[in-house]
Symmetry: C2
Subunit: 160 residues, 2 copies
């Protein structure tokens, strides 16, 4: 079986307010979980590894996060709050971009052990409205997500 680590993520729209992103990583679930839950690893791949600053990181139910990234010379803020954290299995958190303040999406991220040393990461992003969902789809989300996931591939390879 060949590893799919350089593939793009599969992006679908199961409902009019939802985006579903699926991606397989060539690493065991504990490793992938560590890359999502430990800040020193997260900063190496989030935003394609081009993070500018971490203003807040409270990885617990009810905790907040806030990142600044740099893209085309501009600084952008992203923030949210953790709704649910089930170690190795699931993270539910909100997501909000400074450019559209008050437009909040909810991400449910699920980690599935594929049993062959690979891990599937599924992100169901639910928006408040179909218009917000469509705006995100047209914003270059796929490109940004794939860049981040490729940086995550690199991190997982390095630490294997």
């Amino acid at each position: 079986m060949t590893a799919n680590t350089t593939d793009d993520a599969t992006i679908t729209t199961p409902a009019d307010r939802e985006i579903l992103v699926e991606r397989i990583f060539d690493a065991p679930r504990e490793r992938v979980w560590a890359a999502f839950s430990r800040l020193e690893q997260l900063v190496q791949w989030w935003s394609g590894g081009d993070l500018f600053a971490v203003e807040r990181w409270e990885f617990r139910k009810g905790g907040h996060y806030r990142f600044l990234d740099r893209y085309d010379g501009e600084i952008n803020g992203f923030e949210g709050r953790f709704r649910e954290i089930t170690p190795q299995e699931r993270i539910v958190q909100t997501f909000e971009w400074d450019g559209m303040p008050g437009h909040v999406a909810v991400d449910a991220v699920t980690f599935t052990d594929l049993g062959d040393g690979r891990t599937k990461v599924t992100t169901l992003r639910q928006f408040h409205t179909p218009e917000e969902r469509d705006g995100m789809l047209h914003s270059g989300m796929a490109k940004g997500m794939n860049a981040s996931y490729r940086a995550l591939d690199t991190l997982l390879t390095r630490s294997a």
Copy 2:
């Protein structure tokens, strides 16, 4: 025409994720707007005037707010972010209670000059899911909202 300032708010559910709250205040629109937009007035009626602390108040698009109130001896946190502020007319902001972190509602508050010295305040609260909406309806929201609005009546009378 008699003023309806001691009436309860009208609460309806126009859609399965929405709650609509309508209330008439016996004061001109500029006065009601000031009571919503100026912190020193807001703290006198929000949470029935029983606010414990203001941790954050940035009344501008993209700004955050965070309040602590005291209810039955317990401290509760509430927070959100301003999406839109149109002076005298409309405030759109998110609303989140610490007890259910990551469950975010969006409030669109509209101020209508009734032309007779009274002002109608309409709040359309949109939730992510029907379940969140129903949870809020059963949480004693009407009681809390009416207590706050009666404290607002008092403030408006005092400053008339």
